[in-house]
């Protein structure tokens, strides 16, 4: 019996796979994106002649480069496969433009372990949801109605929110949404100490530090919970202090997991970056940056500390590739050439002559996307329009191999 294609539309902006679609849908995140996308009219439209010229230009650029770099900002699986293929042929490097927020859970995981969960588990099993930070609700505005409501229906006191700012006064444009049963407003600089104090109490330390009323209430609630989850937006927690904070959450989860269940969930709305990272890892064994030395894929330690300005000093040819729309602005990278979705955002100083626009996932390109919590994958079906980034990259590879420009190959590595 033939299997039908999945029919739920997908929004790749927050990673929640909502069933909403179209302009005017009740999602402020999506409306914001559509409004911004409308501003792209001033940029020259894509043409097939421009694509051929761009392929030739990039091929020439890489042919003469000593240290070529393919910078993947947010990409679908096919683009990453093609980029890895290109870097392999070039003896070059692939880098996933990584925020430190996305890397932070990996660092904590690598040092002390990680008790995790996924959004469906939160909806089905959680009796205590602890959201931390100001961005999680603005970056994923439908998170409470989509995933917290079932928990709230089971347990009205299920959702507690810790932030440094009180809720905004104006909510006319936001869809109806459940509210936290309890809000704790703590100055950001106090979070680490307050969480540490809670941890002392959870560990039944002999002389724990005093707690205020809010902390006492939170402590009591955590001790009652059978399945507690800490959630935050990954982009909001980036630096070394934030890392200590997340480690405190992991410490608390470990203590609570002695008698109940407690997990952490860092939501990464940049599904294109998560996709790129996962794909790079299974292809090369490396998550963020991989260079092919002719024998194997490796990474150089100093790249972990690189800022945007450092990359052009090491790499003499940079191709920037974004194939999945995201609300994040294009970084101010000194790239030589840019591949962007048709509705991608451009930095003001990017020369339109070097930009090749490709069909965007979510509107006119099919691709594989991974949800930001790595909980699931969803295929987005749509028609291909024009040349895809994958085809572009394989065309460049073909040029470098002395072959005529061609469409996308069946797999990352061609049969020689």
């Amino acid at each position: 019996m033939p299997m039908p294609h999945p029919v739920a539309s997908h929004c790749c902006l927050c990673g929640l796979m909502c069933p909403l679609n179209g302009v005017g849908s009740a999602c402020p995140c999506r409306n914001r994106w559509l409004t911004e996308a409308g501003k792209a009219d001033a940029v020259p439209a894509y043409s097939s002649r421009a694509a051929a010229l761009s392929v030739a230009r990039v091929s020439q650029l890489f042919r003469t480069a000593r240290q070529p770099l393919v910078w993947l900002d947010a990409a679908d699986v096919q683009s990453v496969r093609a980029a890895v293929h290109l870097a392999h042929r070039l003896r070059g490097t692939v880098h996933i433009g990584q925020s430190t927020g996305g890397a932070l859970p990996q660092r904590v995981l690598g040092r002390q372990g990680w008790l995790g969960t996924s959004l469906a588990e939160v909806a089905t099993h959680a009796d205590l949801i602890l959201t931390l930070g100001d961005d999680i609700l603005s970056e994923a505005p439908l998170l409470p109605s989509r995933f917290f409501q079932p928990a709230i229906d089971r347990q009205p006191q299920a959702w507690w929110h810790i932030s440094q700012r009180p809720p905004t006064a104006s909510r006319e444009q936001e869809p109806p949404s459940p509210s936290p049963s309890k809000r704790l407003c703590w100055p950001r600089k106090e979070w680490y100490q307050r969480l540490t104090n809670l941890l002392w109490h959870l560990r039944d330390a002999p002389q724990p530090p005093p707690l205020d009323a809010g902390q006492e209430a939170l402590l009591g609630r955590m001790r009652q919970a059978r399945y507690a989850v800490w959630l935050w937006d990954s982009e909001e927690f980036c630096d070394a202090i934030d890392e200590l904070l997340i480690r405190r959450l992991q410490d608390m989860a470990q203590v609570l997991s002695g008698n109940a269940r407690c997990s952490l969930l860092s939501l990464d709305a940049n599904v294109g970056r998560v996709t790129a990272e996962e794909t790079l890892r299974w292809l090369t064994g490396l998550s963020t940056t991989a260079t092919f030395d002719g024998r194997q894929w490796t990474a150089r330690e100093h790249w972990e500390h690189y800022q945007l300005d450092d990359w052009p000093s090491e790499f003499d040819a940079i191709l920037f590739v974004r194939t999945v729309p995201t609300l994040r602005p294009v970084p101010h990278l000194q790239a030589d050439h840019w591949l962007l979705p048709e509705d991608g955002f451009l930095a003001a100083d990017v020369d339109p002559q070097t930009v090749l626009r490709v069909a965007a996932t979510g509107q006119s390109c099919s691709g594989q996307l991974m949800r930001g919590d790595r909980g699931a994958m969803l295929l987005c079906h749509a028609e291909n329009q024009g040349i895809s980034a994958e085809s572009f990259l394989f065309a460049v590879s073909g040029n470098l191999a002395g072959q005529p420009p061609r469409a996308a190959a069946q797999s990352v590595v061609e049969k020689s």
Binding site: E121, H125, R281, W282, A376, S416
Partner: protein, 555 residues
């Protein structure tokens, strides 16, 4: 084009000229009968008396999917000679298997929600036909339905749907009900213990699922990761699990991890003899070993209960234990098996005991449950242990002395023959998966083969095949990503099922749990072809199963 392999020492108990030095003929990707006219032969390759076996088949190896990728995240250090990489990228996985002469491998733990990820990784694994087993038995919606009197027809429809939707080849259950119970803070679920929330027992689930698989006509039996993995005394759970199948075919996976008695030094001993005796007496039972290999590796499993417990032993001290989409869990815990440590030494002896005590080579399969027990590249070493008694005895002297002293390996003098190895690693895996077109060099079979030069020991012989052919094409092994590739496929079962019944019973609870329509989980053939980039091939179906059907001997 007709290819002739001359002077091939044919090692294939299913072949009419098994054991003889003769020619094999390949045309259009298949073995064919000798031609009437010699002139038809377009190309001759003189194998010079080397051993020719069918391509190896690994029925249980974790090579693709979210857990595997998490393991790569946890173990990213560049490999060294002393510390080889615990989990390879996909290209190197395919390369290394192929170099050993393997041509088909199967990922044993795929979840509905992350099936696409699994298939993507398998598609990027070269030189191997692949497939995956869908994990059931811990879904909230299934457990609720079973606990409220789900009828057989609906169960069959659901199982058929999960296999079809995920493009799976077989069905696996991991710690039936136990992973789910842990989400309700129930820390153990023995075979006859009731799930605190849903009221079902693992015994009930195993019985119903194994029967359902037979009714659906799926070739591979229910593939079972038993309860209480790693717990001293768990051989009782393994035996109870096998009995729960009530005579239906059942496959116990990585049996070594479920073969512990509670009697012995440090409260732990070998239950291999009891388990092997049961297997020998029950023709409906098959198992794969899950042999451990000393050294650094990483354990990955959907069994969060076991992994949550094992995280204390993580080496290095980093790990992940996570619940997954109301279907199962995911635990990744690095492990270093040490030959001077009693429990690790005991585990090592148990795996070998099982391999040597089980009499029927058609019902026991060599695996390390890669990477849980160790790297698959250790198979040649393990084969030498099994085929060379004196080598085995010399290795026994290097492990923890109490484990060595108490082990049955002290008395077991059996050496597996080359015929038995060919069965265990080729013909039997093909049979147990229902892959009638491979695992043999006989006419009509897929031309997957490996040529080995007989060295002075079996480890050297099997470490590197001289040449490997996949679907009639020679594989040229080279630097990562540039080797010549044969076209490979994803093998799937395609059971018939009542779609309307599945939707009536399960679409609402699945959508309630996952917050997306049920059909989002369905992977179509076109999607496999165009986006995942791996064409599908249907595995066979056993038609009109009539009760017990053991794996038994070759038909």
């Amino acid at each position: 084009m007709l290819l002739e392999l001359c002077n091939a020492t044919i090692v294939d108990p299913l072949h009419s000229r098994h054991g003889q030095c003769d020619s094999l003929f390949v045309r259009d990707g298949r073995f064919v009968a000798p031609p009437r006219e010699r002139a038809e032969v377009a190309q001759q390759v003189d194998v010079q008396g080397d051993l020719v076996l069918a391509g190896g088949i690994d029925i249980h190896t974790h090579i693709g999917g979210g857990k595997v990728n998490l393991a790569r995240l946890l173990m990213p250090a560049p490999p060294t000679a002393d510390s080889p990489r615990a989990v390879w990228p996909t290209v190197q996985t395919g390369e290394r298997y192929s170099q050993m002469g393997y041509t088909a491998c199967f990922e044993p733990a795929m979840l509905l929600s992350t099936a696409r990820h699994t298939h993507l990784e398998l598609a990027d694994t070269p030189h191997l036909d692949t497939g995956a087993y869908i994990v059931v038995g811990n879904e909230d919606w299934l457990l609720h339905a079973l606990g409220t009197g789900l009828e057989d027809a609906a169960l069959d429809a659901y199982i058929g749907w999960t296999v079809a939707a995920s493009q799976a080849l077989a069905v696996k259950v991991v710690n039936a009900g136990g992973i789910s119970a842990f989400k309700y803070n129930q820390r153990a679920l023995d075979v006859d213990q009731r799930h605190a929330q849903f009221g079902v027992t693992p015994r009930e689930m195993i019985g119903r699922l194994s029967a359902s698989i037979e009714r659906l006509g799926l070739a591979h039996p229910l593939h079972v990761h038993a309860s209480n993995l790693g717990v001293p005394g768990n051989v009782d759970a393994a035996l109870a699990t096998l009995a729960a199948a009530d005579g239906h075919r059942i496959h116990l996976t990585h049996a070594q991890f479920n073969s512990y008695s509670a009697i012995g030094p440090y409260g732990m001993g070998s239950g291999a003899e009891r388990l092997a005796a049961y297997v020998n007496a029950h023709s409906n039972v098959t198992l794969d070993i899950g042999q451990i290999v000393f050294g650094q590796t990483v354990t990955i499993s959907a069994d969060t209960v076991a992994q949550f417990s094992h995280r204390r032993h993580a080496h290095p001290a980093r790990w992940v234990v996570s619940d997954s989409e109301c279907q199962a869990g995911c635990g990744v815990v690095p492990m270093r098996y040490q030959d001077k440590q009693y429990v690790h030494s005991l585990q090592w002896t148990i795996g070998l005991e099982l391999m040597l005590l089980i009499e029927d080579p058609w019902r026991v399969f060599l695996t390390t449950d890669y990477p849980n027990g160790g790297p698959f590249t250790s198979y040649p070493h393990l084969l030498r242990l099994l085929m060379d008694h004196s080598f085995r005895q010399s290795m026994l002297e290097t492990i923890h002395p109490q484990a060595a002293k108490n082990s049955l390996l002290q008395e077991l003098t059996r050496e597996l023959t080359l015929d038995e190895v060919a069965i265990m690693t080729r013909a039997a895996p093909a049979k147990i998966l229902g892959l009638t077109d491979r695992g043999t060099l006989s006419d009509g079979a897929l031309a997957d083969l490996a040529i080995y030069h007989a060295a002075d020991n079996w480890q050297t012989t099997f470490s590197q095949a001289r040449r490997v052919m996949k679907s009639g094409q020679w594989i040229e092994h080279g630097e990562a990503g540039t080797c010549g590739r044969a076209e490979c496929h994803t093998l799937r079962a395609a059971p018939e099922f009542d779609r309307q019944l599945v939707h009536r019973k399960f679409s609402a609870p699945i959508e309630q749990a996952l917050r997306m329509p049920m059909n989002c989980l369905e992977i179509g053939s076109q999607e496999m072809q165009d986006l995942i980039r791996r064409p599908l091939v249907d595995g066979p179906r056993i038609v009109a199963a009539t009760g017990q059907r053991g794996a038994g001997n070759a038909d």
